[in-house]
Structures are given as structure tokens and as C-alpha cells.
């Protein structure tokens, strides 16, 4: 059974909507700015990837606006775009034919922050009734399911930055078990003081910038946004006459060994297992979207994995996420969207902010690189030891989305 992506919806610091995101990404434009959503002047880090120009009321029914955190509003917007892209008709799949599986981290943190402040300053009567679910980590899956009639098996995966790939892996299981269409991916964000302090507690947030694999790398920057994807059984999509961006050909997840064990990190094994799942050899991989932690030690580990699998400078590697920051549950889903758009257009976007890598890898920097692409590997790591890898493959040869070209 083949599972293909037929719809993409993007809400990112570098663009609202897939086209706007992709133009900015190919041009290497950055969405990193000083935080303007709250007063960050007292914190040691003040840069983030914020989605600009998003007004929820312009995109959502007014019943949904008061009951949703901003990251849910972004997710619902991306979800509607993805389903529109896939020409989704709610009645075409039967009562239980549509599932929702998304990645999440902390839930509606900004909403929760505001309501906890109400509780603390004014009292319990002043806490929004919608706090009951708006903060909940599984809220995006729930709201997408309610809005679009996804009554098949639903779920939420929480594996930090690896979540976007793990959600798609779980979505593929549902497709293989007979659910014809799954809304998946992830959109996330927690740009409030509470969410910010939680990020700072990792000790890995940079005060100066996000420059993965660069000599100046000194940490990552958080951001908000992500991508919602529509995953379908290829036969069902073909019967509907819907072209695919690409196939989810391979997926695997591993955990790092617990601290203190003398064992290698799990990233390489995740990549190898995903390649084996897709039945491709490293020599058949045309490009890699890296996890690109931006933390020197983690960059070194990933560069070693890439050199070990592909040889030094053995495969083009890119990390457009340096323009958005790390988006938690949304990050790897957005990378997957970028990988699929790369397959479609035969172009690899660059890694903004990095002039040249401090590791023996062929990092795409400066300008986008045009090259024939058929098989792309996407890597992701989540804080706490999560590793995930997905292999995407052009479904009907390169540029498999003819209606857009």
C-alpha cells in the first residue's frame, strides 16, 4: 500500500500559505525578528520566528476564535488550506474514513498563560470556560477533527521536534489499516512568557541567532507555525483524480540511549531504518533536510551521521528552518512540506544565516540549488532523545503535481 501527500497547508514565520512560504524559502528570506508578542526585554534571548500578519478572524468562523489558542488558529487555517489543496469533499469518504493525527508539544500555552493570569489576578470566575480544552496538548487534532468531520481513528504525538514526522508515520499506519484520508503534520507555538521560559530552561536557546552547522552556532531559536498535510491511500487519491506531491516511502523512529550508557545516539539508526523501509540505498538519496539543531555538539553528531551514511560532502543537505526557528510539533512537518515542494520543483532551498558549514557536509547556503530530485530524506530530533526520519519519493516521476506547474 502506497501513501501519498495530496494536500499542503503552511502557516510559517516566512509566509502564510504554501506559495508565499515557498517563494520566501527558495529566496532564503528569514522570518526571524525580535519578539513583539510580549515584552521580552528581560529575557536572555529575544529573537524568534513569529508568523506575521495573521488575524484569526480573517481565516476562521467567529465561533472558533474565542475558544482557540493562536497555535490552534494557525493549525485550523493550515488545515483548511491543506484540505482545499487536496480537493477534499467531506462526504466522499464515509463516516469513519477520515482521521486526524497531528504533532504537539505543550498545547495552547499562550491561552493558558492568559487564563492563569486571570485566575491569579482576578479569581476563578474570570477564567475562560474554553480554558477547559484550549490549552490541552491534543487540541489541534480535536479541533481539526470536529471542523472537518474526521471521525476515524485520531491521535496526537508528542515527541518534541521529531513529532511532525512521527505524526506522519502514524498517519501512514492508519492509511495502511484502511483509512483512506488522514489529516496530519503539525502546527505549534508558545510565544508567551510561560512558553519562552520553558524553552530557555533547555539552555540551548541562542541569544544571537540560529546558524545550524555554522562555525558561530551557539543554539537554536524557537518559532511558531508549521504545516498540515493530507495523507491518502494512493489508489484512493488516483480514483479521485487528485495528483500527489510525493510518497511517504519510508519512516522510522528511534530513541537515544539513556544518559550514562556508552551507546551511540539513535539518529543514524532512524535514518537507516527509514531508508530500509523505503527500500532505497544511501546512494539513491538526492538530498537531506537536516534536523540542524544549531547546538555545536548536536550539529557534530548529525554531520557525523550524514558523513557516515553518504560520505563527506556526499549529498546536498539543507536546513531552511534557520529562517523560521524550531517550531516544536510544527517543525518537522514544515520540513516535510518543503521537501515535497522541492521534489515538485527540482530545487533545494538554502539555509539562511549560514555562510559555510563548519562540518564536512555539502550544506546548501546562499542561493537555492536546482537539481533533479527523486528521493529526499528528512531528519528530525526532539529534545529528550527522540529521533525520526522520513523518506519522501516523487510519486509519478519528478514534478508529480502537474496542475500546479
Amino acid at each position: 500500500m502506497t501513501a501519498v501527500i495530496t494536500g499542503i497547508g503552511v502557516t510559517a514565520p516566512t509566509g502564510l500559505g504554501t506559495d508565499s512560504y515557498w517563494e520566501a524559502t527558495k529566496a532564503g528570506r528569514s522570518g526571524i525578528t525580535p519578539i513583539d508578542r510580549f515584552d521580552a526585554s528581560g529575557y536572555p534571548a529575544q529573537l524568534a520566528g513569529q508568523v506575521p500578519g495573521f488575524t484569526a478572524a480573517e481565516h476562521l468562523p467567529s465561533r472558533l476564535v474565542p475558544q482557540t489558542d493562536r497555535m490552534t488558529q494557525l493549525a485550523l487555517t493550515a488545515g483548511a488550506w491543506a484540505l482545499e489543496d487536496a480537493a477534499y469533499e467531506p462526504d466522499a469518504f464515509g463516516e469513519y474514513g477520515v482521521s486526524v493525527v497531528t504533532a504537539a508539544s505543550g498545547g495552547g500555552v499562550e491561552f493558558g498563560h492568559r487564563e492563569l493570569e486571570n485566575l491569579w489576578r482576578k479569581g476563578k470566575k474570570f477564567v475562560s470556560a474554553y480554558q477547559s480544552f484550549a490549552w490541552f496538548y491534543a487540541v489541534n487534532t480535536g479541533q481539526l477533527s470536529i471542523r472537518h468531520g474526521g471521525r476515524g481513528p485520531c491521535g496526537t504525538l508528542v515527541t518534541e521536534q521529531a513529532g511532525g514526522l512521527d505524526a506522519v508515520g502514524q498517519a501512514r499506519r492508519h492509511v495502511r489499516r484502511g483509512t483512506p484520508l488522514v489529516v496530519t503534520g503539525g502546527v505549534d507555538g508558545a510565544l508567551s512568557p510561560w512558553g519562552w521560559v520553558a524553552q530557555l530552561s533547555t539552555g540551548l536557546v541562542s541569544g544571537t541567532g540560529y546558524r545550524p552547522f555554522g562555525a558561530e552556532a551557539d543554539g537554536y531559536l524557537p518559532g511558531e507555525g508549521g504545516a498540515i498535510l493530507v495523507l491518502e491511500d494512493a489508489e484512493s487519491a488516483a480514483a479521485r483524480g487528485i495528483p500527489a506531491y510525493g510518497e511517504i516511502a519510508g519512516y522510522a523512529a528511534t530513541l537515544d540511549p539513556r544518559p550514562g550508557l556508552d551507546a551511540p545516539p539513535g539518529l543514524r539508526r532512524a535514518a537507516e531504518l527509514a531508508l530500509a523501509d523505503a527500500r532505497v540505498t544511501p546512494s539513491e538519496v538526492d538530498a537531506v533536510f537536516a534536523d540542524a539543531a544549531g547546538v555545536p555538539e548536536l550539529d557534530r553528531i548529525e554531520a557525523q551521521v550524514l558523513c557516515g551514511l553518504f560520505g563527506p560532502h556526499g549529498v546536498p543537505v539543507t536546513a531552511p528552518k534557520s529562517a523560521t526557528g524550531r517550531l516544536f510539533g510544527g517543525g518537522a512537518a514544515l520540513d516535510l512540506a518543503a521537501a515535497l515542494l522541492s521534489l515538485r520543483d527540482g530545487v533545494l532551498p538554502p539555509t539562511p544565516g549560514v555562510e559555510r558549514p563548519d562540518h564536512p557536509i555539502d550544506l546548501v547556503t546562499g542561493a537555492a540549488r536546482e537539481l533533479p530530485l527523486r528521493t529526499v530524506l528528512v531528519l528530525a530530533r526532539g529534545h529528550g532523545g527522540f529521533n525520526a526520519a522520513v523518506v519522501v519519493r516523487a510519486h509519478h516521476g519528478k514534478g508529480a503535481h502537474p496542475w500546479r506547474s
Partner: protein, 85 residues
């Protein structure tokens, strides 16, 4: 004495819980079920919470549950306001 009228109630509901695009809240809705107006129990919890704050009253919880239309909710609130006066 303070009173809550339908216009005020609709304004509070719009602000607290938004508005279903298939419903005309400016029409004759006094006896329409809140459910049919697109408001679920949480929307009503949010709305009655706001009314309690604005008028500094405490509404009877069973009364709230039984007030299934704007007319019934207005009566509940205005009775409470009359007793408080």
C-alpha cells in the same frame, strides 16, 4: 434598576463565543434554543460567567442549565437583578 435586554445578551454572546455563520442573531430569537443558535454548554458557561461579572451577581446553577432559550436566560438574569436591588 439594571436590566439585561436581548440586544445586550446578543452582544455578550458574540463577544464571548462568536457567532455561527448560519444563524441570524439579530432576528426573532427569543424562543430559539441556544443549541439551535449554535451555542453549546461551554459557550453558555462563558456567557453566563461574563454576565455574572458585569452585573456582579451569582446565577443559580440549576437555573442556568434549565435556561435553554434567550427568553429563559433573560428572565433568570433579570429576576436575580430584581432580587439584588
Amino acid at each position: 434598576m439594571a436590566q439585561l435586554n436581548l440586544e445586550d445578551l446578543v452582544a455578550i454572546m458574540r463577544d464571548c463565543a462568536g457567532e455561527d455563520e448560519h444563524v441570524n442573531l439579530d432576528g426573532d430569537i427569543l424562543d430559539t434554543l441556544f443549541y439551535d443558535l449554535g451555542y453549546d454548554s461551554l459557550a453558555l458557561l462563558q456567557t453566563t460567567g461574563r454576565i455574572e461579572q458585569e452585573f456582579d451577581i451569582v446565577l443559580d446553577e440549576d437555573g442556568i442549565t434549565e435556561a435553554e432559550t434567550p427568553r429563559a436566560l433573560l428572565a433568570l438574569v433579570n429576576d436575580c437583578l430584581a432580587q439584588a436591588a
